[in-house]
């Protein structure tokens, strides 16, 4: 078992002078290999901030963060970009696919960035699309897909480069209940199959069936209930 994500005493403060807002407050958090963790919290509690810090999009005011054993605090912008490319997969609230790339190209693009061998990349893209049951839509543009199909492409894209961990910010928010649950189940499946880890932020308590752990973000800390 290895630790895919470790956050130690992470604090994120917004604003300066008199009006400071501590969104994250000495937060500690760990995710192990094969684990699928859900983070719940009301709107404005800092879920997106938490995910940005964990996902190396934001350098927190203080604290330490390790992704797959690598500290991200000392890294500069270019190194962080590199780290995100190879170690982290992202899923966003609305799928956020690139409108001008066909489904398969969405995956091949990240593979190109990571300089994966073209043939292997094609193979892996085909596998992922098949597992997520959207092979049939391989050559379609995002505008021709339903919301659930888009999110499934987003999952495939997030896993494409074999990242250590996947971060999902409200991946079910734009989907109906049934589709939403299916998307969460597929994330869980991939985590188990590929021995990876995933952190999902949500405010929908009905989506937690396949999560190994459920944490609540309260007063800038993660607590179990």
């Amino acid at each position: 078992m290895s630790t895919k994500l470790m956050m130690k005493q992470v604090t994120q403060t917004y604003g300066d002078g008199d009006s400071t807002l501590s969104v994250l407050n000495n937060l500690d958090f760990e995710v192990q290999e094969g684990e699928f963790v859900a983070v719940l919290g009301p709107s404005g509690s800092g879920k997106s901030t938490f995910l940005s810090a964990a996902g190396a999009l934001l350098t927190p005011t203080s604290g330490e963060i390790y992704i797959d054993g690598e500290s991200i605090i000392q890294k500069d912008k270019t190194q962080l970009t590199e780290l995100r490319l190879h170690k982290i997969g992202f899923m966003f609230q609305s799928a956020q696919l690139l409108p001008y790339l066909k489904v398969e190209e969405q995956l091949l693009y990240v593979a190109r960035l990571a300089k994966l061998n073209a043939k292997e990349a094609r193979q892996r893209a085909a596998d992922l699309l098949k597992r997520l049951e959207i092979s049939g839509k391989r050559n379609q543009y995002p505008e021709q897909l339903s919301g659930g199909e888009k999110q499934r492409v987003a999952i495939a894209r997030a896993w494409m480069n074999n990242p250590a961990i996947l971060f999902a910010d409200e991946p079910t928010a734009s989907l109906d209940y049934r589709r939403g649950r299916e998307v969460v189940r597929m994330i869980a499946d991939e985590v188990k199959k590929e021995r990876k880890a995933a952190v999902m932020v949500t405010h929908d308590e009905r989506m937690l069936e396949w999560c190994d752990r459920v944490l609540h973000l309260e007063n800038g800390k993660l607590v179990e209930k």
Partner: protein
């Protein structure tokens, strides 16, 4: 270029539109440039084609040939400095000639030159004129369009003197009028016979002395002769009446076209870039390097400008072939290359604004913005 190409594939109409605009602008740039060059050539080819790099003019003549007066002594001095073959006198006068048989009236410029010196016209058809022959002239071939052939008689409107066209020369215009070359004997006859007072034949002054020599020789002449100035061929050309005004207004059009195309392109790409802010945020969040994104933006601009420039080059060639010969249009390869490079260069500079914008976009844009 992976992204750049696929984006253009997906939004064909949008990029086609901007390409058409760039095509039209670059075509207009090439056309006006060709026109400017053609007009310039039609204007001053007689001076431009002279094998002289300097001209000796009177100091207070404002560089203008017709206002300047040089004497035979001045010519001797110039010859002694630069060598006999490298200095030649030139007298210039604009006038109107008629060709009676066909009731023609044409504005021309007389060039009186030493027919054995460096300014002697190159004959392309007919016979040369010697220095002591009377009543024979060499004319620019453009006069052929008016029906003046070798053997035609030309009558000077002011003096009534008559000359026979002995031959043609090519590309000899001065102030947009064809040049009529005569020898100094005829010139003196015209000036003395034309009611110019009782000056004896030998003392009829020249306007300028053309010089082929080094800058030191030019300097020596300025020192030796009183009240003269030695100007370069370029200065002489730009002092030809009408030349500077014509060229500078065309030049202004060209510069404006460049500025407009740079602006149109820059604004177009800037607006598109702003529209795609969230996409760039996502690309960065997924781990796309800034250099990759910059190349993507610049690559699109480069591709669009190169393609539209190539098409407009083809259009320009086609048009050049279709234009009648009388239309002054001239594009040399060097001008084409320079214009093309400038066009692509300004496009790229315009695209840098967008690149700067992309650089400012934060990967954080991607997260927490519901439908951005």
């Amino acid at each position: 270029m992976f992204l750049a190409l696929r984006e253009m594939r997906h939004a064909k109409a949008r990029y086609l539109l901007i390409m058409v605009i760039m095509l039209l602008v670059s075509f207009l740039v090439l056309f006006v440039t060709g026109l400017a060059k053609g007009l310039a050539y039609a204007n001053i080819s007689a001076v431009e084609n002279m094998p002289a790099n300097y001209f000796v003019v009177q100091e207070d003549a404002d560089h203008t040939f017709r206002r300047s007066q040089m004497t035979v002594q001045d010519l001797q001095t110039a010859k002694s400095v630069a060598g006999d073959a490298n200095a030649a006198s030139l007298a210039v006068q604009t006038s109107t000639v008629t060709a009676a048989e066909n009731k023609l009236k044409v504005d021309v410029t007389y060039f009186a030159v030493d027919m054995e010196g460096m300014l002697a016209p190159r004959i392309t058809e007919g016979k040369a004129v010697t220095n002591d022959q009377r009543g024979n002239v060499i004319v620019d071939r453009k006069l052929a369009e008016s029906g003046i052939v070798v053997g035609s008689k030309l009558y000077d409107q002011a003096t009534g003197l008559a000359w026979t066209v002995a031959g043609y020369t090519e590309d000899s215009s001065y102030s947009h009028t064809p040049v009529v070359y005569m020898n100094n004997t005829d010139w003196q006859a015209m000036r003395t016979g034309g009611g110019q007072g009782k000056t004896s034949a030998e003392s009829v002054p020249y306007n300028v002395i053309a010089l082929h020599g080094s800058s030191e020789q030019a300097h020596t002449i300025t020192e030796t002769l009183d009240q003269v100035e030695v100007i370069t061929q370029k200065e002489a050309v730009s002092s030809i009446p009408g030349y500077s005004a014509e060229q500078s207004s065309l030049m202004m059009m060209i510069v404006f076209l460049f500025v407009i195309s740079a602006f149109v392109l820059a604004v177009f790409f800037y607006v598109i870039t702003i529209q795609k802010t969230s996409q760039f945020g996502i690309l960065k969040a997924m781990g796309t390097r800034m250099s990759y994104l910059a190349w993507s933006v610049v690559g699109q601009v480069l591709l669009l400008s190169v393609v539209s420039l190539s098409i407009s080059l083809l259009l320009t060639f086609a048009m050049n072939a279709a234009l009648p010969d009388s239309m002054p249009f001239q594009l040399e390869p060097s001008t084409l290359i320079l214009t093309g490079c400038l066009f692509i260069g300004t496009s790229l500079v315009g695209s840098l604004i967008s690149v700067g914008r992309v650089a400012k976009i934060d990967a954080l844009e991607a997260i927490g913005r519901a439908y951005a």
